[in-house]
């Protein structure tokens, strides 16, 4: 006998449920909304009418050049100061003679003038009595002269110790500026600077030409998550069978270690895993990096797979296998001919879980792939995040990419909800 609910409570209940659904759906609403409406120009910040352009764009069906989004002016404005600096530096570093002339004519003059100004200031400030100002200043710039020590004495009372030191350093620099070593060092420095600006120039030009390689990220994510989930599944089927069916020494210990990983986070082992890879030189080739990343994903997904499959195998009656073994099947054959076909739903569920862990992974991908910036191997999480931080990020394309990468997972989940939710409560989650 259940008491009837009052209408008031029923309304409150409906309101509560709708409120919860509302809060859950807000981010999804904006995701879809912006992906269908956002305009390209981030400076205008206006949202134009309905468009599916963002979707066509991320699939590479249409391609707007960056000029179309941002206008040539912005790029030209960014490029101009860089080009100017490059011209200057190129002229200066044509040869060591040219550089020497530059140092002598421009740099040294400027520095000497600075020194003179400082001395001038000191004279005025401390009221030193000088007969010939020009001559006094000229002499005071040579260390060790009487004038120089007068200036230094007075300076100590006016300036801070740091400023005095800066003055003497500058004076020493001017004295040494035309020595061969200083010239050579300065020349090298100028050349390095030139290279830096060249790199900046190509970056501006290249970034301008690059489009948003969503399909490449998607493919990489599919490969990394798919392969690692497959390996993890295979290893887990063998392991889970041993855990659930066989008695062997050290079973408890191995199981406990697996549990340890299940609760253990990536952050804690990131430093040593990274160091190991660097020491072994794995990260120096894209191939090695990819394989290493897949192996790290396997170990991350293995505990979940082992735990869920072990639980499932225990529900299959042993008598079925027993009959097969009596009929002449070996134990290993029994796994492949009996256990795997019988637990197919569980295996698919486990695969999806393992796949989703790889699909969502950010930390290791960013640590390993980001180091040498193997842009061709970028997975969706790091690719999208890197894109969102670049100057060319456009909300519309980001959101369209978000929608496209979410929809397959949501569809799979909705179709298999029964299996997957029971997987959650059976402890089949790992974060």
């Amino acid at each position: 006998m259940v008491r009837k609910k009052t209408p008031f409570r029923r309304v409150m209940f409906a309101l509560g449920i709708s409120l919860i659904c509302f809060f859950i759906l807000i981010p999804f609403y904006f995701m879809v909304h912006v992906s269908l409406k956002a305009d390209y120009d981030p400076n205008k910040m206006t949202f134009s009418d309905f468009t599916i352009r963002n979707y066509l764009e991320i699939f590479g069906l249409i391609q707007s050049s960056e000029t179309e989004f941002f206008g040539d002016e912005i790029i030209r404005a960014n490029l101009e100061p860089v080009l100017k600096r490059i011209d200057e530096l190129e002229e200066r570093t044509a040869s060591i003679e040219v550089y020497t002339r530059y140092v002598h004519d421009v740099q040294l003059k400027a520095k000497e003038k600075e020194l003179r100004d400082i001395v001038d200031l000191v004279i005025d400030f401390s009221g030193i009595d000088v007969t010939d100002r020009e001559e006094f200043i000229e002499n005071s710039l040579v260390p060790g002269t009487e004038e120089a020590s007068i200036i230094e004495e007075n300076m100590k009372t006016i300036f801070s110790a740091n400023d005095v030191k800066r003055f003497t350093d500058l004076r020493a620099e001017v004295d040494n500026a035309l020595s061969e070593e200083a010239l050579a060092a300065g020349f090298e420095k100028a050349k390095a600077q030139l290279e830096l600006f060249e790199a900046q120039k190509t970056k501006i030009l290249e970034e301008r030409a690059s489009e948003f390689p969503f399909l490449k990220y998607l493919r990489n994510s599919l490969i990394f998550a798919g392969i690692s989930a497959l390996i993890s599944l295979f290893v887990a089927i063998l392991g889970a069978y041993a855990f659930s069916r066989l008695r062997f020494k050290g079973r408890g210990l191995v199981q406990r270690s697996v549990l340890f990983v299940y609760l253990f986070g990536g952050t804690v082992i990131m430093v040593p895993l990274y160091q190991m890879a660097v020491k072994l030189g794995i990260l120096s080739t894209p191939f090695g990096t990819g394989v290493y990343l897949i192996m790290v994903y396997v170990i991350q997904t293995l505990p979940v797979s082992l735990y869920m499959l072990g639980n499932y195998f225990r529900t299959i009656p042993f008598s079925i296998e027993e009959a097969a073994i009596i009929d002449g099947c070996s134990r290993v054959q029994a796994i492949f001919k009996i256990v795997i076909p019988l637990s197919l739903p569980a295996i698919v569920t486990v695969y999806i879980y393992a796949f989703m862990i790889g699909w969502n992974e950010y930390l290791f991908a960013s640590a390993f792939l980001g180091l040498k910036s193997y842009k061709d191997l970028f997975t969706l999480p790091i690719g999208l995040n890197a894109f969102s931080g670049s100057a060319h990020a456009v909300w519309g394309r980001l959101m369209a990419a978000s929608v496209v990468s979410a929809i397959p997972i949501i569809i799979i989940f909705t179709l298999m909800q029964k299996y997957l939710t029971s997987g959650f409560t059976a402890g089949g989650v790992k974060e």
């Binding site: 006998m1 259940v2 209940f13 509560g16 449920i17 919860i20 659904c21 809060f23 981010p27 999804f28 904006f30 995701m31 912006v34 910040m45 290893v235 063998l238 392991g239 069978y241 041993a242 066989l246 008695r247 062997f248 191995v254 199981q255 270690s257 340890f260 990983v261 609760l263 253990f264 986070g265 990536g266 952050t267 804690v268 082992i269 990131m270 430093v271 990274y274 190991m276 192996m295 790290v296 396997v298 170990i299 293995l302 082992l306 134990r331 969502n360 950010y362 930390l363 640590a367 999480p381 999208l384 995040n385 969102s388 959101m399 929608v403 979410a406 997972i409 949501i410 959650f424 409560t425």
Partner: protein
């Protein structure tokens, strides 16, 4: 007879080890060894090319570092907030979903959405909502209602970035709590409630005297599990805001996001994190899990 039995046992033993050997090898190379190596690194001043033994200096440096303590307390605050928040929200939703009503199937799917949607798909939408210059949140609360200052930057200010990260974490993870609690709630026999009703118990009485004791154990287990996971949560926090400043981000910034990596210090912090987690995990294994 005895001999046959022992030979079967021996065979089982060797087959068992053969089958778990891939697991064990992977575990050794990619977990056990790195954990040991991490502790080793933490005693060294570890550069890119050279390393010198410095004993406990890394730890002393970490413990003297005010930034570490700030980050530590942010992490603790983040963990507490997200665990309490997701438990309360998850419990409320589970209690509601335990009742029959029209459209329950669709609501069930909607509630699971935050948890199953790939992180990378949903995180930009959250960033967009809280974007300081044209996000809908600021447009509503600052421009339209005027409740908050227009200078407020929820994402990039290190003092409050972890707050948005906490809200996001609660939003994303409460469905997990809800699922765990719901499956426990559904196993409570209806007779308990019927008996209580005959005795004239109110809804609140029923909740505190029947529901709560029944789900108490599961709730503790889920809280502990979420606590462990959230304590070292990296991606969900980092992708919302780089400035949220929890310990995993603190470590990451010292190794990956810098031109002069401090491996020794990072390893020391990771070791400290590991010790704390080991405490939590031991509590979890002892009190909750029966493997």
């Amino acid at each position: 007879m005895q001999q046959a039995a022992s030979s079967i046992l021996k065979k089982e033993n060797s087959l068992g080890w053969k089958l778990v050997s891939p697991t064990v090898i992977l575990l050794m190379i990619l977990i056990i060894y790195p954990v040991a190596y991490n502790i080793y690194i933490s005693f060294f001043d570890y550069g890119i090319t050279s390393s010198t033994f410095v004993g406990l200096e890394n730890y002393i440096r970490v413990f003297k570092d005010a930034a570490f303590w700030k980050s530590f307390f942010i992490t603790v605050g983040f963990t507490l907030m997200t665990v309490i928040g997701s438990i309360l929200l998850g419990l409320g939703v589970a209690l509601m979903m335990n009742k029959e009503f029209k459209g329950r199937a669709i609501v069930r799917t909607i509630i699971l959405l935050p948890y199953i949607t790939p992180l990378i798909s949903i995180v930009f939408s959250w960033k967009y909502i809280f974007d300081p210059s044209y996000g809908p949140f600021m447009q509503l609360f600052s421009q339209s209602l005027g409740w908050v200052s227009p200078q407020l930057d929820l994402l990039n200010n290190s003092n409050n970035a972890f707050f948005v990260a906490s809200i996001f974490n609660i939003w994303r993870n409460f469905p997990f709590v809800y699922l765990m609690l719901l499956s426990r709630l559904q196993s409570i026999p209806d007779e308990y409630y019927e008996a209580a009703e005959i005795d004239g118990a109110t809804s609140w009485n029923k909740f505190t005297n029947i529901t709560l004791p029944e789900i108490y154990f599961v709730m503790g287990a889920v809280a502990l599990m979420r606590g462990i996971w959230n304590f070292y949560k990296f991606d969900e926090v980092y992708l919302i805001s780089k400035r949220a400043g929890t310990l995993p981000i603190f470590i990451y910034e010292r190794v990956i996001g810098t031109t002069s990596p401090e491996y020794g210090v990072a390893a020391a912090i990771a070791t400290i994190l590991m010790v704390i987690m080991l405490g939590l995990i031991t509590a979890y294994v002892k009190k909750v899990l029966k493997w």
